[in-house]
Assembly symmetry: C2
Homo-oligomer: 486 residues x 2
């Protein structure tokens, strides 16, 4: 829905769509083989304006977060979100297919920690530790595990201590999330460093005989927020319970452990149930000229269970849905098929992305580009393009327009730009994603505080505008790449 | 303990203390009736340096937070903290008295909330609401209360709805903490507005027949932090359960309630047990010339139970203890009695402050000044002086020195500057307190995130230096006010 002056904008855009084919024939940018239309700039500005002024994406994100809630794979809420997105896409006239995906069904249980012995402790005054199980952690016995904790800052310190100092203990990986790096705008890099301990800590500790593993929250917030996420058990290594403690609780344990023995009672009762049938929602707006050629716009529908999965990743689903909505609102007819995908199970399995990739083997060559937004809803700075530098230039008209909203950075990515689309990218499909300002993303994602209010309406619209302008561009991988998409 | 060059500083300060009486005879500031010494500036600088370089206060705060933990009145930890502070003061040679204070013994129980009906809800998908009981809320029945919620933004809206729209419902006071005011440095004012709904919401709602009352967190953080605190039941009004929900959960309920009926199941099982005997810790460093004249330096020892009471108010106790420590380290002999007080039960009863006041009725005239730090450990901007403008000028030498660390603001307070000392102030005893930068204080206080890491070591030392320099000043109320305290 367009909030301001809908009549005027709709009219002008409808006219554009009906009578003026967008062609790309300008002299300013002259990548080999195609040119841009002199009218393009004004046309794209109008299209951008439509995306910036619409609150459709915001309303979709609100529904997913507030009316449905947390959407962990296998949950009733995840199933409800599939129904909901499919229904919304059908309302817009898209051809909807639910692609079967068997997903893990891990269910969080009781999760408590307390320090039952520490220096200076008065009788009967255990200290509560705030923690949350990682998926798919195994459970402790129902009465819990009580053991001394050993604190290490990294894998090297773990190895240095060796089995004699670790066997029978609970290992706390106290690796500090690099907030300075995050503040500089490299939240993803900071996360990458910290998440190694969340993902691999349990097996690393188990190799030395640890009975459980804890990692310091892999996020930047200092508001005693537990921070869940995925972990992996290595084959052939004992599967020990794994949880994440808040930054504050890690500090507390580290402080006390320097003074003497600290013993913890840890109770985790998650359950790993049999796989559940779930779905990728695949909604096609068929191309008018090249219906077999597909451009994916996507986000992931599942979320972690502590918050309501707003910036991770209701926002991504919502901006993908917005492409279909704007096409309908503006009566635009894409020449190629726009495929809105709401992926299932990005968080703890990537089953949606891998299933789609397997099912699409015969059609991979028809995938012109894959767009995914899964790095929050922060102000977009530009575009990550997993394409050749030469091909990236084809995106320049959109980038020129995005400059006006501060999103004019065009960065050539050398690796995948989205988890769900990564199998496609590995097979040569160009991947595109907004570059979001992630200085705050890792303060919230995977925590109870990833809630709808974390989405700034203006910034979500800016992200929608990025996705919206990108799919309009002639795709770098398109066989007829000198042709636009409308 | 002094961290850097202890020998040099100790020596020079010991020399000062031993051989050069601090007198206040300078020409620069000439309030009527007394003068300042020409040597004073340099002497005070050395004293300030000693406070800034000592980590004694930090270590005390660390012990209270980490080795003892939350210290709610009546708890084992509160009792342990009394023992601890008394022991530390005895170690320094102070004369310690435990002043009996009967305190409320409210114990938090289970506290859960879930939305069991809301627009768009799929079967069996209640949404979890993060909340925490307020002290001394009564309990719900053990099976909980399930009722529709009604959302109001303020008391006026509540009155506007009236009994027909409120009876039998759970009222959510969705008054938004004014983060803009907080960011401008008026956190206390923002808190004052919001806390009215925490304190008085339950009785206001009960007058219209509500079955429970919720208030939106009276704090600035947006990290899904429950925010506890005190509330009051009005006489003659039904006592209904009262809890605080996070800002995010308030937003969620308000969003859903606009769309249709929202029903909540609320379970709170706190218990109000019989009063418990507890204590103010009163530690005297006897004055060498006027032992009957007392200057109080203080903070409160009890805390709320969700966090470990670091900035509220281990920090205040620690900077008061530092005065005793520095006197010993520097071998200073106060002429008047320095009375370090760690107050009990500031948070949910003020029994410590009122008991002391009652017990001191015969000695009130000997109370030269009362200092309290209970507004966090943020960078001090200066001093709140609850004295006459003329008397405040006597603090000018300290203020001049504090300017160098940015704490040179001297503000004449027209009301109390500390809860525990407020009865004394009301009886005419001059009250003094640091003015802390409170732009972040209300993001943490009363939440699980009020933990030791929230204390910035440098800023705590700055606060210690403020208290330290203040007691040295000739007190505005001192019968011999032209005389200094050493």
């Amino acid at each position: 829905m367009i909030r301001k002056k809908p009549g005027l904008i709709l009219l002008s855009l409808a006219l554009i769509a009906a009578s003026i084919p967008l062609s790309f024939v300008i002299a300013q940018q002259q990548p080999q083989g195609y040119k841009y239309s002199s009218q393009l700039t004004e046309e794209l500005k109008l299209l951008q304006k439509a995306a910036l002024e619409s609150d459709y994406a915001l309303k979709q994100a609100a529904y997913l977060c507030n009316n449905i809630g947390p959407r962990l794979s296998g949950s009733a809420q995840a199933a409800r979100s599939v129904e909901y997105v499919a229904g919304e896409m059908r309302k817009l006239g898209l051809e909807v297919k639910l692609e079967k995906v068997m997903v893990p069904h891990w269910v969080r249980g009781i999760e408590t920690g307390e320090l039952v012995q520490y220096p200076g402790m008065a009788p009967k005054t255990p200290q509560k530790i705030m923690l949350t199980a990682l998926g798919p952690s195994v459970a402790t016995p129902s009465e819990g595990i009580t053991a001394p904790i050993v604190v290490v800052n990294n894998f090297e310190e773990l190895a240095g201590l060796g089995e004699s100092r670790i066997k029978g203990r609970i290992v706390l990986f106290n690796y500090k999330f690099d907030r300075k790096l995050q503040a500089q705008g490299f939240g993803g890099a900071a996360y990458g460093q910290a998440v190694a301990y969340r993902s691999g800590g349990a097996s690393a500790a188990a190799r030395f005989g640890a009975v459980a593993a804890l990692n310091r929250a892999a996020g930047g917030a200092v508001y005693r927020l537990p921070h869940t996420g995925g972990m992996r058990y290595e084959d052939g290594v004992a599967m020990i319970p794994a949880a994440s403690v808040t930054a504050e609780d890690a500090d507390l344990m580290a402080h006390l452990a320097l003074q003497g023995e600290v013993r913890m009672k840890l109770v985790l009762t998650p359950q790993m149930l049999p796989d559940v049938e779930s779905y990728n929602v695949i909604a096609d707006l068929k191309g008018s000229e090249f219906p077999d050629q597909v451009i994916i716009v996507s986000g992931h529908l599942d979320s972690w269970d502590l918050g309501t999965g707003a910036i991770d990743d209701a926002a991504g689903v919502a901006v993908a849905m917005q492409v279909a909505n704007l096409c309908k609102e503006l009566k635009l007819k894409p020449k190629r098929t726009i495929r809105v995908i709401a992926w299932m199970n990005e968080e703890n399995g990537l089953r949606g992305g891998t299933t789609y990739f397997q099912n699409q083997q015969p059609n991979l060559k028809n995938h012109i580009a894959a767009l995914e937004s899964d790095h929050g809803a922060g102000h977009p700075l530009g575009i990550d393009a997993h394409v050749s530098p030469a091909a990236a230039q084809m995106l320049q008209p959109a980038v020129n327009i995005l400059l006006a909203s501060g999103a004019g950075l065009l960065r050539i990515a050398t690796g995948s730009v989205g988890a769900d689309i990564s199998p496609l990218e590995a097979a040569g499909v160009p991947g595109l994603a907004p570059i979001q300002d992630d200085r705050y993303y890792f303060d919230y994602h995977h925590t109870p505080a990833d809630t709808f209010d974390k989405i700034n309406p203006r910034e979500l619209a800016e992200n929608a505008a990025v996705i919206w302008l990108l799919w309009l561009m002639p795709s770098p991988a398109c066989p007829n790449h000198s042709q636009d998409n409308i």
